[in-house]
């Protein structure tokens, strides 16, 4: 078991190294890194302020060194939690500070979205599977198909229009200074936007697995024991059907990270999505790099955790 965990973690670290090396060299090779960091200031070699910034940037990012060396240094800084200095004429705080302030909002959004998706999909799948191929199930299949075909930004616009503007159930704006609970409330609609299509994906998968499981002999055996219909579904059918659900949950997290960045900008939540958009507009590449690295690391780690969790949960997996 331990060796399995170690093996998975090693693979994850290797992947992260490869991904970061790729991202870093992409950042540095495509175009002039100085321009990438400083934007238009880099060309402004007359202004003493710019020259100071250019020199500071060259020193901070060791631009005189070779690419591999710079990568190693950057990696070293990254491990120590230093994502680099942000250079802008407005004197924004260092990248790490921005990330520290904004990443939690994205994290809350994602966690809420995934929890909602799971909370919606499980009862939905149980309902559909217990009425397999009957009208209720067919309606649910069509609904999930429609939801999956609806892009998250379109769903965001629709939900915003219906639930926030027309019905007024949810606030439209996110206020970063509000107390935590009201921010949770403000995050609900964006989270729902991400959660609904995800729930549809999970539901489809879980329903299929449940229907297969329900045909197993041990289900008949459970019925023969006198276990009630819902207990058969919950205690006997759900658990063995859960494993591919968990895997897809992990893989889907990646898609949701990308989606959450988009949804964030629509609902104007100042999280990582908004950060990256602003950074791209400003050509603030260290920030872009940082956000990409964070998103990718979370994705890789979630997948490893899911793998490990899987082997813990399924007694049939040989350890």
């Amino acid at each position: 078991m331990l060796s399995y965990v170690a093996q998975r973690l090693t693979l994850a670290v290797c992947l992260l190294l490869a991904v970061s090396a790729l991202t870093f060299s992409g950042m540095n090779l495509l175009g002039d890194p100085l321009v990438n960091i400083l934007g238009p200031i880099a060309a402004d070699t007359k202004n003493p302020n710019s020259i100071a910034l250019i020199e500071a940037a060259e020193a901070e990012y060791h631009l005189d060194k070779s690419l591999p060396e710079r990568y190693v240094r950057w990696l070293g800084d990254l491990v120590r939690g230093d994502l680099g200095v942000q250079f802008s004429s407005t004197g924004e705080p260092p990248v790490s500070n921005i990330i520290k302030e904004r990443a939690p909002r994205t994290a809350v959004l994602l966690v809420m979205a995934q929890s909602l998706a799971v909370l919606i999909s499980i009862p939905w799948a149980l309902l559909a599977a217990s009425r397999a191929r009957r009208p209720a199930d067919r309606i649910s299949t069509v609904t999930s198909f429609l939801l999956i075909a609806l892009p998250n930004f379109a769903l965001a616009v629709i939900l915003k229009y219906l639930l926030a503007i027309k019905l007024g159930w949810f606030p439209i704006t996110y206020t970063a200074n509000d107390p935590f609970l009201s921010r949770i409330y403000q995050t609900f609609l964006p989270a729902l936007t991400i959660a609904l299509p995800a729930a549809a994906v999970y539901q489809r998968l879980l329903r299929t697995d449940l229907i297969t499981t329900l045909q197993e002999d041990f289900i008949l055996m459970a019925r023969a024991k006198g276990v009630s219909k819902w207990k058969v579904l919950l205690r006997h059918a759900l658990r063995p059907s859960f494993f591919s659900f968990i895997t897809v949950f992990g893989i889907n997290t990646g898609a949701l990270i990308g989606g959450s960045l988009v949804v964030e900008t629509i609902f104007r939540i100042p999280g990582l999505g908004t950060t990256i958009v602003e950074a791209i507009i400003r050509d603030d590449f260290p920030v872009v790099l940082a956000v990409v690295m964070i998103a990718t690391s979370v994705f890789v780690l979630v997948n490893v955790l899911v793998d490990i969790l899987y082997s813990f949960l399924d007694p049939r997996v040989k350890r």
């Binding site: 197993e216 002999d217 041990f218 008949l220 055996m221 459970a222 019925r223 023969a224 024991k225 006198g226 276990v227 009630s228 219909k229 205690r235 006997h236 658990r239 063995p240 949960l313 399924d314 007694p315 049939r316």
Partner: protein
């Protein structure tokens, strides 16, 4: 019908009495008559074998008596358990009987235990549902049950999963679960088919022992007459959804009437056979239960069939022994039977001297 009734007499009030039971499944191709008018009595503490090829409806019959059917199934007729009419009862009210009054052991213990639930949990479940036991009481009882079905190291097994146990052991666990609430009747559906030959008789002996000391009725469903020979008091032979012969076990083996039963008997391998004796497999397959043949349903495969067999269905009729009934126009021992037998031997289809 009156004859049938007569043959179902006998001693005390039966535990379960089945009359005119039909079980129909609605499928895309049409109505499948898996059980088509069955009469049976099951007595306390006694053991009944239901025998037939696969696809003849014997599994459906046992599940139909118990009411354990999918929602596409429809039951007609009557099943009385200790005076309660079970046909027409809702699944919800049947649940009181399942696991407590009647329980079932399934064919393949590899798939009849939940793979992700500990053994102890699975045995405890009916105890907690039906007997309202506390968690710890249920565990203690589960331990006793595992001892009762003679599983080595029972304590350790409680915490194990099905895949950690051998096939024989799993079937013992299934039996322990079936016995847990002290049922009055145990259905065992091909309980040994999926197991090693060496384990088979142990499992059958185990069931027989528990039957005796719990005074429980056992219905043993199997395709193998050899299995029921030593372990049942009475045998009902099923073909195409109907009972075609029913008799006390000894009587049946001594005095078989129905050609179908006889073919089943001839297909049991015997110890005194020459090593290379060909087994008499019955040629052909059981008929389609959507559109069964008119007349005797065995006629298309019966070597003794005559004109009448294809037109008119033979009713169940008693022999000199009123407990022995059969449905055949030209049974073993009749003049027509011998006449045909001579022809078959003459043409070399049959070898004399094997029955």
């Amino acid at each position: 019908m009156s004859q049938t009734q007569a043959s179902l007499r006998g001693g005390p009030e039966p535990l379960v009495s089945v009359r005119g039971l039909r079980t129909l499944f609605a499928t895309e191709r049409g109505l499948v008559r898996a059980v088509d008018g069955v009469d049976l009595n099951i007595h306390k503490g006694r053991s009944l074998g239901i025998v037939g090829e696969s696809g003849c409806g014997k599994t459906v019959l046992s599940r139909s008596i118990m009411g354990l059917l999918p929602s596409t199934a429809h039951r007609e007729g009557s099943v009385r358990y200790e005076g309660h009419e079970l046909v027409g009862k809702s699944v919800g009210s049947m649940r009181r009987f399942w696991g407590q009054e009647m329980s079932m052991v399934f064919q393949n213990p590899m798939v009849s235990l939940n793979p992700v639930m500990r053994i102890g949990e699975q045995i405890a479940e009916p105890l907690r549902i039906h007997l309202g036991m506390s968690r710890s009481d249920a565990r203690d009882t589960a331990l006793q049950l595992l001892e009762e079905v003679r599983i080595p190291e029972p304590k350790r097994r409680l915490r194990q999963y099905a895949h950690e146990l051998s096939g024989g052991m799993r079937q013992r666990v299934v039996i322990a679960i079936a016995l847990s609430c002290g049922p009055a009747i145990l259905f065992a559906d091909e309980p040994t088919t999926a197991l090693d030959v060496t384990v088979q008789s142990q499992i059958l002996d185990l069931i027989a022992e528990r039957r005796q000391d719990r005074n429980m009725a056992v219905v043993l469903v199997t395709h193998d007459l050899g299995v029921v020979a030593g372990h049942t008091n009475e045998i009902a032979v099923m073909y195409a959804g109907k009972i075609v012969e029913r008799a006390p076990t000894n009587e049946l083996f001594a005095n078989v009437k129905m050609p179908y039963t006889r073919s089943l008997l001839r297909s049991i391998p015997r110890l005194d056979d020459d090593p290379h004796t060909r087994l008499h497999a019955i040629s052909g397959r059981p008929p389609d239960l959507i559109d069964p043949p008119s007349g005797c349903r065995f006629a298309p495969r019966c070597a003794y069939a005559r004109e009448r067999c294809h037109v008119e269905a033979p009713p169940l009729q008693p022999t000199e022994n009123p407990d022995h009934v059969y449905a055949c126009w030209y049974p073993v021992g009749s003049a027509e039977f011998f006449e045909r037998e001579e022809e078959l031997v003459a043409t070399g289809v049959h070898v004399r001297g094997r029955q």
